[in-house]
């Protein structure tokens, strides 16, 4: 049975009427204990959303396919440049780090992933991936529903999952909890007047007191109250983690590299989350694709490689799987601006020490197209079901509404 966010929150609000202020405070999360992670504690999933629609054909290149070279006269990548995965396909030459990991058996590439009646709208298609529901609009994400089932919030853990982007992706929209978003940990601190440091404690206590009991019938008041409480609880703890867990590993510049680094700091610092989300944006390459996409794929590959190395350094590589996906691939034939328009199926990437590396699934035909687009070969929910059941130890039927075939990458 699922309860809606509103009724749940109302329940909480009503309860606090009967409690005095100090008791009501206990309803909010306990301050997290500070202790580094011990290997094997739990299994963690890191989601990398490659936003804008990454061109799968120039990421995992069908370098043995004549049609590819015909349909992509200026964009095709020469066979001798690709980093081969097998005799048919190879990685974009900018993905050296990922290729190394593949050669070590740590990367699964699943080909031709998509869903029936594909939407070419960025916004609808990413929503479909985030909610795992192609047929209707729903309010919860697939991992939000995982959090609802897994009851991760017991014992006052506010870090059931952490999103390191400014806005929470629908993936983590849950009925029961609000997942914290922390994009810049250095600004993530409740400040008070530096001239009156003496008053700080009184003021912070007043804030917590007020937030602990604030009741209002305005439609968004409970959402705001929860966000405020969690922000405050999370900040001290995360500040400390970031101070204590510095890393010498070099990550690529930019918000994606910083995000992965922060995730690694949180994992090794003992933040008890099983899910982390990060975004790499800019894949909507309608014009001059090569330049933009190459830079992004380089960032992706270098970031993932650095992240893996960082985990290894702390002997935590067995605890983490990283999953990279995009809302759609792109049209097979290139357009007139050395770019590509919105398409359909594309590969996804599953990376980790416990992953059975290799190429999975069948490459969609480059000639039998559906109105110029690739026909998908693998439903994305098979990937989700595999990750949920065989990695996270969840019950995917409860989350996805039915059983899906597993892909043996884990």
């Amino acid at each position: 049975m699922s309860i809606s966010r509103r009724t749940f929150l109302q329940g909480l609000g009503l309860m606090s009427v009967y409690l005095s202020a100090p008791e009501a405070l206990l309803l909010s999360a306990k301050a997290a204990e500070y202790a580094p992670r011990t290997a094997g504690k739990s299994k963690i999933l890191v989601l990398v959303q490659m936003s804008g629609g990454n061109d799968g054909l120039n990421t995992v290149v069908p370098y043995n396919n004549g049609a590819y070279y015909q349909l992509r006269p200026t964009l095709a990548i020469e066979p001798d440049k690709v980093l081969p995965l097998d005799r048919e396909i190879g990685l974009n030459p900018n993905m050296i780090g990922l290729h190394e990991l593949f050669k070590n058996g740590k990367v699964a590439v699943v080909q031709g992933v998509g869903y029936p009646n594909p939407s070419r709208s960025h916004f609808r298609s990413i929503e479909i991936w985030q909610t795992a529901q192609p047929d209707k609009i729903v309010e919860t994400g697939w991992l939000g529903r995982y959090l609802d089932c897994a009851d991760c919030t017991k014992n006052g853990n506010i870090f059931a999952a952490v999103n390191v982007e400014p806005t929470l992706p629908k993936t983590l929209q849950s009925n029961k909890i609000m997942v914290p978003s922390v994009s810049n940990v250095f600004d993530f601190k409740f400040r008070t007047d530096p001239r009156y440091l003496q008053d700080r404690e009184t003021q912070v206590r007043a804030f917590e007191d007020i937030y602990g009991t604030f009741q209002s019938k305005r439609p968004n008041a409970e959402l705001l109250r929860n966000a405020g409480l969690e922000a405050n609880k999370a900040s001290d703890y995360l500040q400390k983690i970031v101070r204590e867990y510095q890393s010498e590993i070099k990550y690529p510049d930019g918000s994606f590299g910083n995000g992965l680094k922060f995730i690694s700091q949180m994992i090794s610092g003992g933040v008890d989350s099983r899910i982390f989300t990060v975004n790499l944006d800019g894949f909507d390459t309608h014009t001059n694709q090569a330049n933009g996409q190459n830079k992004l794929l380089k960032q992706f590959s270098e970031g993932v490689a650095a992240f893996y190395k960082d985990l290894e350094r702390n002997n935590l590589q067995d605890d983490v799987v990283l999953f990279g996906f995009s809302e759609f691939g792109r049209r097979v034939v290139e357009n007139n601006g050395r770019g590509t328009d919105h398409g359909t199926a594309a590969p996804v990437y599953v990376i980790g020490s416990k992953v059975k590396g290799g190429v999975y699934g069948e490459h969609p035909s480059m000639t039998a197209l559906d109105d110029g687009d690739l026909k998908y070969k693998m439903d994305f929910r098979c990937v989700y079901a595999t990750l949920l059941d065989r990695w996270m130890g969840a019950d995917s039927r409860e989350i996805l509404g039915q059983r899906y075939e597993y892909i043996p990458f884990v």
Partner: protein, 445 residues
């Protein structure tokens, strides 16, 4: 007016939605005009003398070719204009035709587009859509520069239907392909729009059942008159001004105004601002303030005249980076403004206002003077004064009590019956305003 509330109450509400809040002085002027008079003034910016703003902007010496200056310029306009609805609609169109300088990479083109939205802020949607389609920043943003005969680029054709007019589900993939051909050759040069005849596809096309040798103008004309467009725009505008969950009846009312007025936005916006639902309990404090509303509103309410240069960054960290929206869909708004870190940013903005900007409150310079001038003779009166000013007193009794006990304590938190000294008073006053600005209801418009 409605619900037994005063004119002042609803004018405050109106200006939070149709503007960016009010200074006490502005409020007085609007109250003298009354609610209907205020709506009339807001809807007719061309009748308002805004020269003072233009003059002071000249003195600021903004560089319109530098994107950070441009952001500051726009914030300056939002804060000091006498035509707040004009700026609010400019922001609406910016969010609707969401174009980002991250890709356009040409601040002056962004300035041009912004001026276009301001010029047509309350104009005719047909004209707005037509001009937006030919706008150089838009052409660069959605790749129409590369949309050529024989090799169409579908980006603009898709977004004009999905995001600017019909909404998803109200067109086919074939409509997009045909419309893309109609926009072939619509290009930009450094001097502005350029119709490249050699790149235009003059062949027959069919868009939404209309066939012919269609060009971009024709597609625009077809799109603006669709019933789906009227509903799409009505829904979006009601959400922007009134509440996040408009009912179908209200959407129909507003969509009808769009159709019968032949796409006249002034009439559409008037219909929303005077709709009984807009002036109801349901609408009051029903929306989460956007970062622009929060930041500008705070400055206006507290009469802070000097704007810090990093306000654009502050708003960006709250989730609204002006002239750099996250994608072509613009800002989702509503509950999407709220996440733990954007909330923290709001708290820390409040702290910055009360620590470094507070002394600028124009009528007084010290805490003692505020208290004396307003006749705030007790902790309760002090708390009530600021709760009224900042959140229309929309808080539960428990919150008021906790604020009173915060003010009635010394710096170590020990209860006192009299504030011991002026330093403590200053700390408590700043702390009080900070705390009120962190309240859930302060985040509501």
């Amino acid at each position: 007016m409605t619900g037994g509330k005063s004119d002042v109450f609803w004018i405050n509400h109106l200006l939070r939605r149709a503007g960016f809040g009010v200074t006490p002085r502005e409020l007085k002027r609007y109250v003298a005009l009354g609610y209907d008079g205020t709506v009339n003034e807001l809807l007719n910016p061309e009748n308002v003398d805004n020269m003072q703003l233009e003059e002071s902007i000249k003195q600021q010496d903004f560089d319109y070719t530098a994107i950070n200056d441009l952001k500051r310029w726009w914030i300056y306009r939002m804060a000091f204009t006498r035509c707040p609805l004009e700026e609010k609609m400019t922001l609406f169109w910016h969010g609707h035709f969401a174009t980002s300088d991250r890709k356009v990479n040409n601040a002056y083109a962004m300035y041009g587009q912004n001026m276009l939205f301001r010029k047509h802020a309350l104009g005719n949607f047909h004209e707005i859509l037509y001009n937006a389609s030919k706008d150089p920043a838009m052409i660069l943003w959605l790749d129409n520069q590369q949309n050529r005969k024989g090799k169409p680029n579908e980006n603009y054709a898709r977004e004009i239907m999905e995001l600017f007019t019909l909404g998803i589900g109200n067109y086919s993939e074939q409509d997009i392909k045909e419309a893309a051909r109609a926009f072939t050759g619509w290009q930009t040069l450094p001097s502005g729009f350029f119709f490249n005849q050699r790149q235009h596809d003059y062949g027959a096309k069919t868009v939404l059942g209309v066939s012919g040798n269609l060009n971009g103008d024709d597609v625009v004309a077809i799109l603006v008159k669709q019933k789906e467009t009227s509903k799409f725009l009505a829904t979006k505008l009601i959400k922007y001004f009134a509440f996040d969950d408009p009912d179908p009846a209200m959407v129909s009312r507003i969509a009808d105004v769009y159709m019968t007025s032949k796409y006249n936005m002034r009439k559409v916006v008037r219909a929303i601002l005077t709709d009984p639902a807009f002036l109801s309990e349901r609408a009051f404090h029903a929306k989460i303030k956007s970062p622009a509303e929060l930041v500008i509103g705070s400055l206006k309410t507290l009469q802070i005249r000097k704007l810090d240069g990093d306000l654009p960054m502050t708003m960006a960290r709250m989730g609204q980076d002006l002239l750099m929206p996250p994608n072509v869909k613009g800002w989702d708004g509503g509950t999407a403004w709220i996440a733990t870190d954007t909330m923290m940013e709001r708290f820390n903005f409040a702290n910055r206002v009360t620590t470094t900007k507070f002394s600028e409150m124009s009528k007084f310079s010290s805490a003692q003077e505020i208290v004396d001038n307003q006749g705030l003779t007790s902790a309760g009166k002090l708390v009530d004064y600021f709760l009224d000013l900042l959140v229309d007193a929309d808080v539960p009794a428990s919150t008021r009590a906790k604020l009173v006990s915060y003010v009635s304590s010394d710096l170590s938190g020990k209860p006192v019956s009299n504030i011991p000294d002026e330093k403590t008073l200053d700390a408590k006053l700043r702390g009080l305003v900070h705390l009120i600005m962190t309240l859930p209801t302060y985040q509501l418009a």
